[in-house]
Amino acid sequence: MISFLEFFVRYFPDLLSGIGMTLLLTAEGILAGLVLGLAATLARTYGGKFWRSLAIAYIELFRGTPLLVQLFLLYYGLPGLGIALSREWSAFLALGLNSGAYQAEYLRGSILAVGEEQMLAARAIGMSKWQAIFYIILPQALRLAIPAWANEPVSLLKASSVVFLIAVPELMTRAKMIASRTYDPIRSYLAAAVLYLILVYLVDAAMKWLEQHTRLPGLSQARQK
């Protein structure tokens, strides 16, 4: 029997390409989710009745159903409607749509926390509603959202492992392939676990950095007092 370290080193190149795909899916999902989440939050907070309802429906639907169901609907369900998506596209869309619904909730909380009065002050110097939203409300809301929002990339990174069920070649899929090739599931999945752990640690560190570097002078000190 070879040691875990030897096993790990031997299959690392294989796992590495899986890591690449995992990171790519996570990054794409976070970015797509940010755009969707932002749009949904703005629609919900500032939109008319129609946009508000649409945003709420989207958020509730995607937070209220499992990611796996959403993934299967996109990959196996859409072809029934004449829309055939590749594995990668299905995975990307499912992660983005799912994450967007969660990100919308983080952003909404912080927009409410910025408060109506900042809007009032912005309108008072002649800004339109949308100018106030983009120049005054969002820059503050995004900063406020970061500490809670920072959980989302880690959470999505781990959640992305479900896409192995439609055989997108990410880390989990690679681990499964190695397991069936070597008849050594313990070492294979242990290797995947170690790599996920490292990725999560790195993403966490990146989020801490982001938090530090977007902090407003004076505010943090004031809060600590």
Binding site: R123, M127, L219
Partner: protein
């Protein structure tokens, strides 16, 4: 001499929130260069009146004119009107993510579309005017309440407004910080800025106001020069209110 028409004129303004009538048929003329102080108990509708005057809140009926033009007309671009009416709030409401300079600049660059350098120069001048040029790069949370309110005044002044509205600008301040804000306002009055000031600072009202309006329960009870109101108030309600207010705030007044 009063220049006609009044720079800001309100005719028969009525405002309700649901069943609640905040004020009814209020009329008001503000002439160029005038400082008007509005006094009155809290909950009387003073803040609501100011917000209606710069269209932050719609009135139910009545008309408002700015330089003779009706700004309550449906065709009016309200954002453009608000640029011309400066507003200073009780709790400062500086933009927390921007430095003092950024707060004063943002209206110039985003609303007036002024080039960055020109906006910066103008913003620095306005900060200079309120004595805060040396705090330009501080964020609101790094400034005292008095400094924040002076930045808020500079932010409004930068838009070159025709009228400045002040809604209890010193009510949220520690007593020792009130003087610096009133000082800036007094200086503006001497520069003949047109101002409408809601305040409980009777010293300021007495010394700086051209006219004082006493408002209660959504009505203008009495108006006149500081002498009229302080020395020979016509209405019992005015006397009563002034008596009460000088008890509350009397200790802080100068001389």
């Amino acid at each position: 001499m009063r220049e006609f028409p009044p720079i800001l004129q309100a005719k028969n303004l009525t405002k309700t929130y649901g069943e609640n009538v905040i004020f009814k048929n209020i009329s008001l003329d503000v002439y160029k260069g005038e400082t008007i102080v509005i006094i009155g108990p809290s909950g009387t509708g003073k803040s609501t009146l100011l917000r209606c005057l710069n269209l932050l809140t719609p009135v139910d009926s009545g008309q408002i004119f700015l330089e003779g033009e009706e700004i309550t007309a449906p065709s009016v671009n309200q954002d453009q009107v608000r640029q011309k009416i400066g507003m200073v709030f009780q709790n400062f409401l500086l933009f927390n993510h921007l430095t003092a300079l950024g707060n004063v600049m943002v209206g110039l660059t985003k609303v007036k579309k002024m080039p960055h350098n020109q906006a910066k120069e103008k913003a620095l001048q306005e900060l200079e005017r309120v004595g805060l040029a040396d705090r330009a790069h501080h964020y609101p949370a790094q400034l005292s309440g008095g400094q924040q309110q002076r930045v808020a005044i500079a932010r409004a002044l930068a838009m070159d407004p025709l009228v400045m509205l002040f809604d209890e600008p010193t009510s949220a301040l520690d007593p020792e910080l009130i003087g610096e804000v009133l000082g800036v306002m007094e200086q503006l009055a001497h520069e003949h800025m047109t101002m409408l000031v809601v305040t409980h600072e009777m010293g300021f009202a007495r010394e700086v106001a051209d006219r004082i309006i006493f408002m209660e329960k959504g009505r203008i009870v009495e108006e006149g020069t500081p002498e009229d109101l302080f020395e020979r108030p016509q209405q019992a309600r005015t006397r009563e209110f002034l008596g009460r207010i000088s008890e509350l705030y009397g200790k802080r007044e100068k001389g």
